[in-house]
């Protein structure tokens, strides 16, 4: 249970001396880092990043607009958290082109939370560097004289999925308040492998259904209800089914948000966008793309089409 002895080889005393200060990447002859961020609100950043931690790896894209953190699952689900530059007290991208790197997301979150559990009222100050060689992401946290340095090795980034979501030719769009939507999400029958989203043009409602051994669960949001802020109906009623396990990955983001925008394109690809409001007015977006379940993958589902109308 104790990690292998090779770890001992990784500890070299020569980088150890406590009596020298820890070198910042910008001195000592190293070229300046590709990316440098200074965060004074680590707790806020952490809580946003935790909402999409359903897999171990994440790809991060740093551009002049800020960071986009992406986590994917099985080519059917993609989650993105957008952290604009205004969230950081300092944000420096050395070259103007966007850069991509990939790392173990669990490790990153562990390091970011190193001080966030203490009762200290002053939030920890944190710096993040991606050095020129891109071999690892370095974090430097300082809190009341205690200094923590983390190095998280990077992995060769792969192209993230592009779902070709056509926002200009939507099938439907609804905006629903998260307070009501999250109740429905958490009540969905856990034994139902699929969740169906049905939007009716004639009756102007948004419906989520589950199909379990004990029966069918049906949750309706009519366009006139208070929870629905916007309802752009499809030309004809549509229904698409999604894997429940994938939809569940959205729950944390939904719970952190104030409202959810659900858009669907002609192929049934869903784009869920959650708006997270923060105390200081810096709103953030968390976005999910889901691929609908293909009919040939479905098992026989109880209930006939008539039940929909």
């Amino acid at each position: 249970t104790i990690n292998n002895a090779n770890d001992a080889d990784n500890e070299s005393d020569d980088e150890f001396s406590l009596n020298s200060g820890s070198p910042a990447p910008s001195d000592g002859g190293r070229p300046p880092p590709l990316l440098y961020l200074r965060i004074t609100n680590a707790k806020v950043v952490c809580s946003l990043l935790k909402t999409i931690q359903f897999r171990d790896l994440a790809t991060i894209c740093a551009s002049v607009n800020g960071l986009k953190v992406t986590v994917e699952d099985c080519k059917s689900l993609q989650a993105n958290v957008y952290l604009q530059t205004s969230l950081f007290s300092q944000y420096t991208l050395r070259d103007d082109e966007p850069l991509f790197f990939k790392l173990n997301y669990v490790m990153l979150l562990e390091c970011l939370q190193m001080f966030s559990d203490t009762e200290a009222s002053s939030p920890a100050v944190m710096e993040l560097f991606l050095p020129d060689d891109r071999s690892a992401v370095e974090l430097h946290l300082e809190d009341a004289g205690v200094v923590t340095d983390c190095r998280i090795r990077t992995i060769e980034p792969e192209q993230t999925l592009d779902f070709n979501f056509n926002a200009a030719a939507l099938c439907f769009k609804v905006i629903i308040r998260s307070e009501q939507l999250k109740e429905v999400f958490s009540e969905l029958d856990p034994h139902s492998e699929l969740v169906e989203i049905f939007v009716s043009t004639e009756r102007r409602l948004f419906r989520m259904s589950t199909f379990g051994d004990l029966g069918r669960g049906v949750y309706d949001f009519p366009a006139e209800s208070e929870a629905v802020e916007m309802f752009q109906s499809p030309d004809v009623s549509v229904a698409f089914r999604y894997r429940h396990a994938l939809l569940k990955c959205c729950l944390k983001a939904l719970q952190a948000s104030a409202k959810a925008s659900i858009r669907c394109d002609q192929r049934g690809f869903l784009s869920l966008q959650f708006l997270v409001e923060s105390a200081d007015g810096h709103n953030c977006f968390i976005e999910f793309f889901l691929v609908p379940n293909q009919p040939e993958d479905e098992d026989e589902i109880a209930g006939s089409d008539d039940e929909r109308h």
Partner: protein, 316 residues
Amino acid sequence: MKFRAATQDAGCVQYLCKAIVFVSKLANNCVMRCTPDCIYFVLCGHTVEGGVRVWFEIKRDTLFSDYSMAGLDEEHEELEVVLETMVGALTKSFGQARGLRLKLTRRDAAPLLQMELELPTVLTDESRHVTHNVPVRVVPLRYWGEFQTPLEPEFDISFYFPPLSTVRNVLDRMRNLSNRLTIFAQRSTRDQGKCSMRLSVTNSMASVSTTFKDLQLPRWRDEPVDAAGDVQNGRNGDEGDEAEDAEAAAEGVDVPQSARPVRVAVDIRKIGSLLSSPLACPTRIVCNLVRHRVAQFFIFYDEVQLQYFIPALDTE
């Protein structure tokens, strides 16, 4: 052999019980060693991977109003008793105990520790007395050597550990990376009276280290101090790292013995359980490191002192 101790102070009873429960969680066997001045609870985890050893010392005056004992004979004025089941007897009832009386007795030639707890009754002011008879084994004389208080050991470096609240959180996070924790400590060149400590963990994906600076150095009793103010209780470093010597020589730096970093790798879970004590916050914790051998913790609470030895993962 005789042993009798009593206290009528609810606070003392609580304290003793909490201490016993805490200490019994750290290792399996519990030996109670009574001397005229102190009671020690000694736990020796003799296990294959190198056990943790604990000495918990309570001065009799602190907790007991009445205390008397007589050892084996005039030469061996001590009593050593194995108490595996003492904890079970205490945990259920001690919460409201007003008094406690301990007495070593025997029934049918088997030794027992009689624990009499004075508990309140629901409706009246009178107390009821609940007596537990805990079977004990007297440790044979030939094993007493194992339970002697260790002399203050030679160490490579000794310093006051930083506040538990900060260290605990860091260790909790580090535990998720690896079970192997490396402790480095080094005297500060700027200020001979201080040192820095670094805790670090590494796995295939990440490495994390946290550095605590400006930790005070304690003064050990009777330690000889040379003209330069360096503590001489440390070892001469003859068995130390040749690699460290070589590096220092390569840099052309004449590194005094006491300023070389001291490294000990331990199992992080053993420190974690030590730091999560139900007793009130310790007044101070001293950490002694013996390079590649052991990390020793001396934890001082108001009335009691706990010594905890964690062997290094790779001994040389």
